[in-house]
Point group: C2
Chain length 494, copies 2
């Protein structure tokens, strides 16, 4: 029945519009809100989330989903996404949802203290409760969705890829890294140390440069803002994207590379299919897909020799002084430096996957009941040593470093590396299909790449899951070989 489907479309449009309001309030909370507004903002977001949940789980939805019929590929995909969203929302008893909200919030608060003191024992009971409830949630979703418990969690962040597909990809990367990392370090150590950029970099000039560079990537400020927040992010809505960054006078790379990264996210939102706006199939395809779009801009395009040559000229024009540190090779030495470290968010693109592989395996084992919270610090340290040959000196730089688990986010971590690998795979396909792509990058021209991404990725919305999207855009499912080839070319030839 198309009448049932039409009712569902109207309902999901209303839910999406509430989601837009929530997105704007989240952005405001991070970029604008005075501290005294936090309590009221929490209430506002909770009320909107509650109304969304009510709309999604209203008694008449199940009947409409049973009756609905959709013609054509996009409508069929849309209806299937509605069914998944409804199944996920109704699979969990209200008592469990509320218990998780309380447990996550309590654990996150304690975690801040535990991390500051590097005291895992402090957060352990709270984290055990979080994991207990996550296991319960995973079981409930698993039964409703026909996925393994861990896959059911992962689907909440990225649809269309399973842990069984991820593990061999990650294992191949682990093997690659064991050989590639020492070689990259050796090559790096033979080169002269890069000269630091002189600085300081006045914030007003950084802001203007960041805006100009994001416009180079294609961001249209009639539909966007660039502001500041402690933790940079891309928020807002497809017709009104809000990106943020953080300026430090002594370091221009942090803000600039951050803005280019967030611009990749923003351009994905901007390029979503307007005809499907506010429908599930019109949304971005998931967190790994989203990360592929930020990383193809930041890591693949903007840290390429070609773009760095352009960027060096722009930086020199913006800040003046000695031109030597702005030479391409020097910028490459500064901004593509490989280093074994303890901290994921500080990692380079070669070692970053090791941090993700570690977390993926640990969280999968925790959800599967094969690893208990009490054993987490030991397993973490052992795992990092196996992957990178180093062990954290304390838990603050070990299993306490990330907020994710302590806030109840299990199944998210793989997205970072799936995104990085997908970015390399997409870049290789774009290079094949778009003539003169690198020549354009050397002139600071991103539009050939972005036009290709718009058609192959952005305009696809959520029609396809992760693997299908890659097959559609690149002719094959996730293949870590393209990422390794990219890393070989960048770090192992010298």
């Amino acid at each position: 029945m198309t009448a049932a489907y039409d009712r569902l479309k109207a309902r999901f449009a209303r839910i999406a519009t509430l989601g837009e309001a929530q997105a704007m309030l989240h952005w405001d909370a991070s970029a604008m809100m005075p501290p005294g507004g936090a309590a009221a903002r929490g209430e506002q977001l909770a009320t909107l989330a509650g109304l969304s949940h009510d709309l999604l789980t209203a008694p008449e939805v199940a009947g409409d989903l049973a009756d609905a019929a959709a013609q054509g590929e996009w409508d069929a995909a849309n209806l299937e996404l509605m069914r998944r969203a409804h199944a996920r929302a109704t699979a969990l008893p209200t008592a469990l949802v509320e218990a998780m909200a309380r447990a996550n919030s309590a654990c996150e608060t304690i975690w801040r203290e535990a991390k500051a003191r590097s005291d895992f024992a402090l957060v352990r009971p709270a984290l055990e409760e979080v994991v207990r409830l996550q296991r319960e949630m995973a079981q409930a979703l698993s039964a409703a969705l026909g996925l393994s418990p861990y896959d059911a969690l992962m689907e909440g962040y990225q649809r269309g890829v399973t842990a069984a597909e991820v593990e061999p990809v990650f294992a191949a990367y682990e093997a690659f890294l064991a050989e590639a990392l020492p070689r990259a370090e050796a090559i790096q150590s033979r080169r002269p140390a890069p000269r630091p950029l002189p600085g300081p970099f006045p914030v007003a000039a950084q802001r203007a440069l960041c805006r100009r560079m994001s416009e180079r990537v294609g961001l249209d400020y009639a539909h966007a803002r660039l502001d500041e927040s402690l933790h940079p992010f891309c928020g807002g809505t497809p017709s009104d994207v809000r990106i943020t960054t953080f300026y430090a006078e002594e370091d221009v790379a942090k803000a600039l590379m951050g803005v280019l990264h967030e611009t990749g996210h923003a351009q994905y939102e901007r390029g979503l299919p307007e005809a499907w706006a506010r429908q599930p199939v019109g949304e971005a395809a998931g967190m790994a897909a989203h990360e592929s779009q930020s990383l193809i801009v930041e890591m693949q395009a903007c840290r390429s020799d070609a773009f760095l040559s352009f960027l060096g000229r722009e930086l020199l024009a913006a800040f003046g002084g000695d031109p030597a540190p702005y030479a391409t090779e020097n910028l490459a030495g500064l901004w593509r430096r490989v280093s074994r470290g303890f901290i994921r968010v500080d990692a380079d693109e070669l070692t970053y996957p090791a941090h993700v592989i570690l977390r993926f395996r640990l969280e999968r084992a925790m959800i599967g009941g094969r690893l208990e919270v009490a054993d987490l610090p030991g397993a973490w340290n052992e795992g990092l040593r196996a992957l990178l040959g180093i062990a954290p000196p304390d838990d603050a730089r070990g299993c306490l470093q990330d907020i994710h688990w302590h806030d109840g986010a299990f199944g998210y971590f793989p997205s970072y590396t799936l995104g990085a690998m997908a970015a390399a795979q997409l870049m290789q396909a774009a290079r094949r299909e778009v003539p003169g792509l690198d020549e354009a990058l050397a002139l600071g021209e991103m539009l050939p790449l972005m036009g290709w991404l718009r058609e192959k990725v952005h305009a696809q919305g959520s029609r396809l899951g992760f693997q299908d999207l890659l097959r559609h855009a690149t002719g094959k499912s996730l293949d870590p070989g393209d990422f390794m080839a990219h890393l070989r070319a960048r770090y192992l030839e010298g």
Copy 2:
């Protein structure tokens, strides 16, 4: 039944929280949003308004209101306000509400063009439709609320005062003005013309000064922001107020006096009773009450000789240069200039009420069916001549100047002058009750006045309607004599 009342409190808290989300989205639309976000923002606000209306008019509300019992004065007032809100929301058929939304939106669009061309005939049909629907709404509300049709509209903006109370007050002012205006002009013309402030006033320095002065009034930026928008306003929520202004390099008074005005509004919101947050009785008491709080700060306190002497020193410190123009008498000459003009928003405090009296009488006659839209330009010009002795050279400077009627706002205009009069009445009471109030103002100390207002006005929420609030705070209902005495002292002694 307290259970029914408790359910209502939970429901109205939810409605108020949705209202907070709408307030933040409105602020963002005016102060932050890129132009391309406008269409989506309209959808977001419409969706939230629709959900609020659904919550207010849900079938179970009538039963709860019938069953509810409230103990104590505040709860009784709260329940009565719930009843009024429900009665207002259910009195209007959906078809009428939708027809008004369409007619108002269409008329407002045409009005912009008509005003630009000064062509009343262009907007006349659209305005006739707006007036026809406003009459219908007034009739429907009148029947449901037991008020006259015009009073039913006015109650939507300001509860607790009737047109029958307003008319004699306005008539008294008209008589006062006929005598006072020529005298004020004669006194002013005998004085030397004030010297303009030198300028330019760099925007960054204006911004810092405006913020500092708003802090003088007591605004706490842990719960507030000051930003920029084309039309200054006070928005946000009680724990997170957002005021805006507009900076022009050549004119510091515009931004500064605007910020002081909006700070008066903001402090009202900040001082509302926290124990009644998100309940109808915890809201501000209406638009006239609100305007009394902005005007007591801007007009009564900040344009007083005492505060101008402080402000002159602050301006000199901020902008430097020749100190002479910053002398109190010169600032008074600049910022308290009386002049007969056509435009309400540019009017001084002596002639401003004439603009409001004109509009009050015309809109009351239109709603009462005694004046047709076709006769509006003639009635306007005749009315302004009777009040101020001048007639607009065209309708753009006449009946087309304000957006209000063209956007379906009838019954709002009296609030401006009721607020101005209430501000004078409150100031006189504060002077009586707070020792050293003017001595404090001369030192830039606003807190004695603001402390008194917090107790007498802000903390009262909506417990009392306009007249009762004045009786509570000043011992008498609206008395134009205090406003006239203020104007005599300021403009007729010299």
